[in-house]
C-alpha cells in the first residue's frame, strides 16, 4: 500500500537515508509514541521496553534505506521493524510471557476513525478481517501478535492444541496478507 506523502515530499525515513541530520530527531518526535506503545504491549516490564525501544530506533536509523514507500506505509514499516527486534529480544531472553489476565470480553481495539487517521489503510484492512474470524481465532492472533506470546505459551494459556494455535495464526495472517496484496495490485493496475 503506497502511502508516500501527498505533496510528493520525502518521508522521514527517506530523508534519514539521504543523510539529513534533522530527520533523525523528527523520526523520534513522530514515532517514539508508536514504538513505545508496541514495545509495552509485548515486553513484560517498562525497563525492558525502554531498552528495546533504543535498539529499535538504532535499527531504524541504520536501515532507513530499506524502506520502500511503494510496498508499505512508513508507519507499517516501522511497526514491522519494531516487531522484529522485539521478537529477537524475546527469543534471546528465553521469552518471558506477560503475566496479565486474559480479557473476558476480548480486547478493545481503537475506533475506525482513529485507525483511519492514525494507523493507515493496512490497519483498517486488518481490523475488518479480524472481525470476520471466529472468536477463538481472534483470541489466538491477538495473544500472538499483540502480546508477543509464543505459540506454546498460547496453547498453555488457552488449552487450545498447539497445532490449532499455529493454524489459526498462519491462516489469519495469510488472510490479511492476501487482502493487502490484492489492494496493492488493484492500486498498481489503476495507476498504469
Amino acid at each position: 500500500m503506497t502511502t508516500a506523502p501527498a505533496d510528493g515530499s520525502a518521508s522521514v525515513l527517506e530523508r534519514i537515508a539521504a543523510g539529513e541530520p534533522n530527520a533523525i530527531q523528527e523520526c523520534i518526535d513522530q514515532y517514539s509514541g508508536l514504538v513505545w506503545s508496541i514495545a509495552r504491549s509485548m515486553m513484560r516490564t517498562a525497563a525492558d521496553a525502554e531498552d528495546a525501544v533504543q535498539e529499535i530506533f538504532l535499527s531504524l536509523w541504520k536501515n532507513a534505506a530499506t524502506f520502500d514507500s511503494g510496498k508499505s506505509s512508513e508507519k507499517s514499516f516501522i511497526a514491522m521493524v519494531a516487531r522484529r527486534r522485539l521478537i529477537d529480544i524475546l527469543r534471546k531472553a528465553g521469552r518471558r510471557p506477560k503475566l496479565v489476565a486474559l480479557p473476558e470480553n476480548g480486547f478493545d481495539p481503537p475506533s475506525d476513525d482513529h485507525l483511519a487517521t492514525q494507523r493507515g489503510a493496512e490497519a483498517m484492512v486488518a481490523k475488518r478481517l479480524l472481525g470476520e474470524l471466529r472468536p477463538e481465532q481472534q483470541q489466538v492472533i491477538k495473544l500472538s501478535v499483540y502480546q508477543g506470546m509464543s505459540h506454546s505459551e498460547i496453547a498453555d494459556a488457552t488449552a487450545i492444541p498447539i497445532g490449532t494455535v499455529k493454524s489459526h495464526i498462519w491462516r489469519g495472517l495469510n488472510l490479511v496478507r492476501s487482502r493487502i496484496e490484492e489492494i496493492d495490485r488493484a492500486a498498481g493496475d489503476a495507476t498504469t
Partner: protein, 267 residues
C-alpha cells in the same frame, strides 16, 4: 495451495510472530529460493498491520527515554560527521554571531567556581555512580560515550540562583564525536511556557563573549536525575566552561547572563 507453499507460509507466519530456530530459518530460506514469487515480507507486514489495528491510543513516552533517544541520535549524527570529516578537508570554523557583550558575569562566576570545585568533585562522582545500573546502561550510546577516555567529564557547581539550590550532576563532552550530555539532578522543574534552561559552551577557539549555544531544555516534573543531550549548534574546539542559564521560552541567541543556574569549569 500446495503442501510446499503451506509449509512455507507456516514458517513465514511463525517468523512474523515468535521467530524461528536456526534449523527452521534454514528451511525457510530453502523454500523461499524454490518460490521466488512469494513475498518474503508479506506475513511480517500483515502482523504489523494487525498490531497497528489492535493498538490503543499511543502511550506517553517516558522523559528519560526521550532523552536517551535524543542522545543516541546525536551520537549517530556525530559519527556520520566524523566519517565525512575523515573523507573531506575540514571547513573553516563557523564564525560567532555578533551580539551583546557581557563577559564579566561569566568570568566572575568562573572565578568563584575554581574555588568551589575542589570540594565538589569527589562527592558528585560518588553520587552519580550510585545512580547507574552498570548492566543496563552499558549498552546505551550515552554510556559508550561516558566510557570513552577522550570524553571530558566535569561536575556542575550550583550558583545562588533559586532554581539551582539543590542541583548537582556533571557534564560530559567528547570533542572527537562532537557529542555529549548532561546529568542533572535537583535543578528546579520549569514551566516551558514561563522559562527554559539553556546550555552555553565556552570554547578557547572563540571569543568568550560568544559562547556556543548548547541547546534549550526542560526539567521534568518527576524530579530525580535526568540525562540531557548537548545540542551544540556549531563545532566546539576546546571547551573550558559550561554554563546553564535561565532564559525565556525557546532560548536566546545571546544571553544577558542575568540568571546563571549551573557552571562547570574544565581544566
Amino acid at each position: 495451495m500446495n503442501a510446499g507453499h503451506e509449509r512455507l507460509f507456516e514458517l513465514l507466519a511463525s517468523r512474523a510472530t515468535e521467530g524461528l530456530s536456526a534449523s527452521d530459518s534454514q528451511r525457510l530460506e530453502s523454500l523461499l529460493e524454490e518460490s521466488p514469487q512469494v513475498d518474503a515480507e508479506g506475513f511480517d507486514r500483515a502482523a504489523a498491520a494487525v498490531h497497528l489495528a489492535l493498538l490503543g491510543p499511543e502511550m506517553p513516552v517516558p522523559e528519560a527515554l526521550k532523552w536517551k533517544l535524543a542522545a543516541a541520535s546525536r551520537e549517530l549524527v556525530a559519527s556520520r560527521h566524523q566519517v565525512e570529516a575523515d573523507a573531506a578537508p575540514r571547513r573553516p570554523a563557523d564564525r560567532p554571531t555578533p551580539g551583546r557583550p557581557g563577559a564579566f558575569g561569566w568570568w566572575a562566576a568562573a572565578a568563584a567556581l575554581v574555588l568551589a570545585l575542589a570540594g565538589w568533585w569527589p562527592r558528585l562522582f560518588t553520587a552519580t555512580e550510585k545512580t547507574l545500573d552498570e548492566g543496563r546502561t552499558a549498552r546505551l550510546p550515552v554510556e559508550s560515550l561516558a566510557r570513552d577516555p577522550a570524553t571530558l567529564r566535569v561536575a556542575w557547581t550550583a550558583t545562588e540562583d533559586a532554581t539551582a539550590v539543590e542541583a548537582s550532576g556533571e557534564v560530559l563532552w567528547n570533542g572527537e564525536r562532537q557529542a555529549g550530555y548532561m546529568r542533572i539532578a535537583g535543578l528546579a522543574r520549569n514551566d516551558p511556557k514561563q522559562y527554559q534552561y539553556q546550555l552555553w559552551i565556552f570554547d578557547r577557539a572563540r571569543d568568550e563573549r560568544f559562547p556556543v549555544d548548547g541547546g534549550v531544555f526542560d526539567m521534568p516534573a518527576e524530579g530525580g536525575e535526568v540525562l540531557v543531550p548537548i545540542d551544540a549548534k556549531v563545532a566546539v574546539g576546546e571547551p573550558y566552561l559550561f554554563a546553564i542559564t535561565v532564559e525565556r521560552p525557546g532560548g536566546v541567541v545571546v544571553s544577558t547572563r542575568e540568571r546563571i543556574a549551573l557552571l562547570a569549569k574544565a581544566g
